[in-house]
Amino acid sequence: MTEEAPIITMENVTVRYAEQEQPALDGISLTIPAHSWTALIGHNGSGKSTLIKALDGLVTIDGGTMTVAGLTVNEENIWQIRRRLGVVFQNPENQFVGATVADDVAFGLENAQVPRPAMVDRVAAALEQVGMTAYAEREPAHLSGGQKQRVAIAGILALAPDIIALDEATSMLDPEGRASVLRTIRTLKAQENLTILSVTHDLEEAAAADHVIVIDNGHLVASGTPPEIFAQGAALIDMGLSVPFTEQLKTDLEAGGITLPAGYLNEEEMAAQLWKLYSTM
């Protein structure tokens, strides 16, 4: 893919929570190209949520600089940045503010002081985009987790952002809800030319990303394309991550004396390799 100008940059960013010995982020530097899908992985407590919150000004940084959509993250720009960068959090329950689906989608628009007639149109359009039009008058108690997350996405879309950050947004959902939310995001990314930054434990999702960033203990430990990252199999296991199924298979085959070409193989490529092996046996 062609490299685009970075839409997010972090330069030596450090975050230290009060009364914590270790900084949650320790001198992180990274860039995220516009219109890309970047997967952010790392085990629990490694600082992924803190990184997202730092970008959105929800935690204050103790050192370094950041830019989001061309704006330096600081007190002056933060409200503008929050309109460029939408965040979907992990727990569907705790980000549903409105009394009904439509009210919730309107919440960000009310904050942005959009006049009511425009607001009505934008709420309807955003609900249409996530396939929740029929639920506009529903109360959150009558929605599934996946539906609530799609409402959260609609609330962000209504503000026409450049970037959507997902902080384990599908981790509390059942497989069906997870698939529907991811499908929604993929479609929207293409339609709206969005940049996606997704914190995930789902390595299938990471394998489908343009870039993967691995953080461990507040440090950036790896950054590259999925093939580059997953080729480091054993090192990833050391960092407490599981590896994708195909990579596990490859390691096991190699232990049995069968060598496959270097680099990460997706399921299709792996199947092709296995066919080749089988036919030459």
Binding site: R82, G86, F89, V97, T100, G108, M119, V120, I156
Partner: protein, 265 residues
Amino acid sequence: MNKLMIGRYLPGDSLVHKMDPRGKIVLVFYFIWLVFFADNVWSYLTVGLFTLLAVLLTRIKLIYFWRGIQPAIFLILFTVLIQVFFTRGGQVYWAWGPFALSSAGVVNAWFIFFRLVIIIAMSTLLTLTTSPLDISGALSSLMTPLKWVHVPVDIIALMLSIALRFVPTLMDETVRIMNAQRARGVDFGSGSLAQQIKAIVPILIPLFVSAMHHAEDLDDAMTARGYRTDAPRTAFRVIQWHQRDTLSVVAFAALTAVVFLVRMP
């Protein structure tokens, strides 16, 4: 879960349901005030028939109104008995110390009885036909003048609406925590009062912790979506005053005129 919903709202599309909730709240309170002016058979008949008409207009089964009155039945009977035995006047049938059974007492007791039933029926009508969301919206709207004395009306309104929105969530959590405690052998609803109170503590603490987690996350989510307490906002949900609301005000004005015409000079 639904049994415990605040106000036992029953959705519908009757004329009463569709009224402006602000108008409905103000008129119900006005009506309660007006009922206290009824002082004879005719004026009670007037407000009574008006209540019946309003109840019928909701197209809600009468059993729901009865359920509204039921919890107050002892209060009503108690008040009625006090009226019967402590009012003297007209013909006295029986007397003993401060107690007396007189014709005036019996008449008064009937009036009090009707007054209480009418007031409860009308308040039940308000909660049956108005969603908690509409009630909170209407109250916020009615509180608007308080902005002049720097009461943060918008913040209170948002707090109210978020609190209502989290009622089912916290209710679900309460059930879950209770089940978890039951699985560990905690017995709810039996034993002495002290034991029962003790059994509630292990529910309240996890519930409180969980509520704090909700609040913390919600704070981040709201800020991320651009919410700031120090900036003006526009409103998505608006309450609209219709012609039917003007007509209902006219109906109450007519009622007032009739009550004052037929009450004792």
